[in-house]
């Protein structure tokens, strides 16, 4: 499939490392989500995630581990971008802020998973392919919008009120990040009045081919 056919070709360039020999389920789901996002648009991802995780029977820990994997991705992305994105001034400050926030999300999710008696997933290795500031910004927008969609899609499946509260607190910050990055890209901070995930059946059908 050529990149010209992709709604978000930048996602196709993101590589989640499988060489560690122990590819976690969250990483597999993330790969599927990214592939789906690349082909069908980021808003297809949320319901897929919800369904994939609900079907696994992992409950809140499974959802949190998926969120943790996404946060690992974002954290790694912005940490690296500090020296790689070629940013200066306002954008440089924004990258530092986002890196800090995502790192805190990683720490909070890790602590919550442990508190629930679960085992936090290990940090995957990522390979982000972008060449310049514009490429960085485009990928950042996709990640942030995808993050919002993923949390929103998973929300109704969360059992614990505390976990739901935590997820809500994080998703609002992800949405704020998304708006800020979109402004950097001269795009509308909120493209729609609602950030709803799309229909489940449609999404599943679309993404299943990409699940390893």
């Amino acid at each position: 499939m050529s990149h010209e056919e992709l709604a978000h070709p930048e996602l196709a360039g993101v590589h989640v490392d499988e060489d560690s020999g122990d590819l976690s389920r969250s990483e597999v789901i993330l790969k599927g989500a990214l592939a789906a996002g690349a082909v069908y648009g980021t808003f297809m991802v949320g319901p897929f995630v919800r369904r994939a995780l609900a079907a696994s029977g992992d409950g809140d820990v499974g959802i949190l581990n998926f969120a943790l994997t996404l946060e690992y991705l974002e954290s790694s992305f912005y940490e690296e971008a500090k020296t790689r994105a070629g940013a200066s001034g306002e954008l440089k400050s924004l990258i530092a802020l986002l890196a800090k926030d995502e790192r805190e999300h990683v720490e909070a999710l890790t602590a919550t998973i442990k508190k629930l008696g679960g085992k936090p997933v290990a940090e995957p290795k990522f390979d982000f392919s972008y060449g310049d500031t514009a490429g960085f910004l485009k990928l950042a927008q996709t990640f942030e919008d995808t993050g919002v969609s993923a949390y929103n899609g998973a929300g109704p499946s969360i059992k614990s009120k505390e976990v739901l509260a935590a997820a809500g607190s994080i998703v609002q910050v992800e949405a704020r990040h998304a708006a800020a990055i979109r402004l950097q890209n001269m795009e509308e901070p909120s493209p729609e009045a609602f950030d709803p995930p799309l229909g489940e059946a449609q999404v599943l059908k679309a993404v299943e081919p990409f699940i390893a």
Binding site: D101, K161, S169, V173, E174, R176, E192, A193, F194
Partner: protein
């Protein structure tokens, strides 16, 4: 974008918003592009907002399930609470549009914000009816509209408060469908709040990495000055 004529008229003169907040070109461009709405916002309850801890569940928004009892029982009460806030924001933006304080792309943005508010009002009204409830009445409101900068400050305050209000109720929602709808609005409210904060030169994440919820009492007390009846 139907207001292209107004946009043309506004350039190259600096817009009211630009003058008010002394924003760089990128922010002016944003005002022309943005389509966010005001709306109160969102759901999910929050937690873990303390800077010195990694715990994410230390702070639930809202107390018991009866916090919104004055608006109705259970999810209907929560939805009517949100509806009341959305009505307030829609009215605010409508008044701002009429005030003449903004022109060109800024006016276009504010009108768009108001339109999105109206969409939230419509959706919440339908949700209340679907649950067999009676939608909350539209409150009569009055807002201080003294200057463009003051209006923007108020918009920022209202948006951030709205997002916190939804966050304070998310975990109290019983129906997964209602929660899903609430989440769809919540994140949009977060986007709006961040956009306005950017415009105002404030932090996009004033609470840090974890957004804080606001309880019903705090929210209602904050908006009380704007409600006439």
């Amino acid at each position: 974008m139907p207001e292209s004529k107004e946009r043309e008229q506004a350039e190259p003169a600096r817009s009211a918003v630009a003058r008010a907040v002394g924003d760089p070109v990128s922010r002016r461009k944003f005002m022309a592009l943005t389509g966010g709405s005001a709306a109160a916002a969102a759901f999910l309850a929050a937690c873990g907002s303390d800077d010195d801890t990694t715990t994410t569940s230390s702070q639930m928004g809202g107390g018991g399930s009866s916090e919104t009892a004055q608006f109705g029982k259970g999810d209907v009460g929560i939805l009517n609470y949100a509806l009341t806030l959305e009505y307030l924001e829609a009215a605010f933006y409508a008044d701002v549009v009429k005030s003449g304080l903004f022109k060109g792309p800024d006016l276009e943005t504010i009108r768009k914000f108001g339109e999105e508010e109206a969409e939230h009002v419509t959706a919440l009204t339908a949700a209340v009816k679907q649950l067999g409830g009676k939608p909350a009445p539209e409150p009569k409101t009055e807002f201080p509209l003294e200057s463009a900068k003051a209006v923007l400050e108020l918009a920022g305050t209202v948006e951030n408060l709205g997002a916190a209000a939804y966050l304070g109720q998310a975990a109290n929602i019983k129906s997964p469908a209602v929660l899903g709808s609430a989440l769809a609005i919540h994140s949009v409210e977060g986007r709006h709040a961040a956009a306005l904060n950017t415009l105002l030169g404030k932090s996009i994440t004033p609470d840090g990495a974890f957004a804080k919820p606001a309880d019903v009492k705090t929210v209602l007390k904050s908006v009380e000055p704007f409600i006439v009846s």
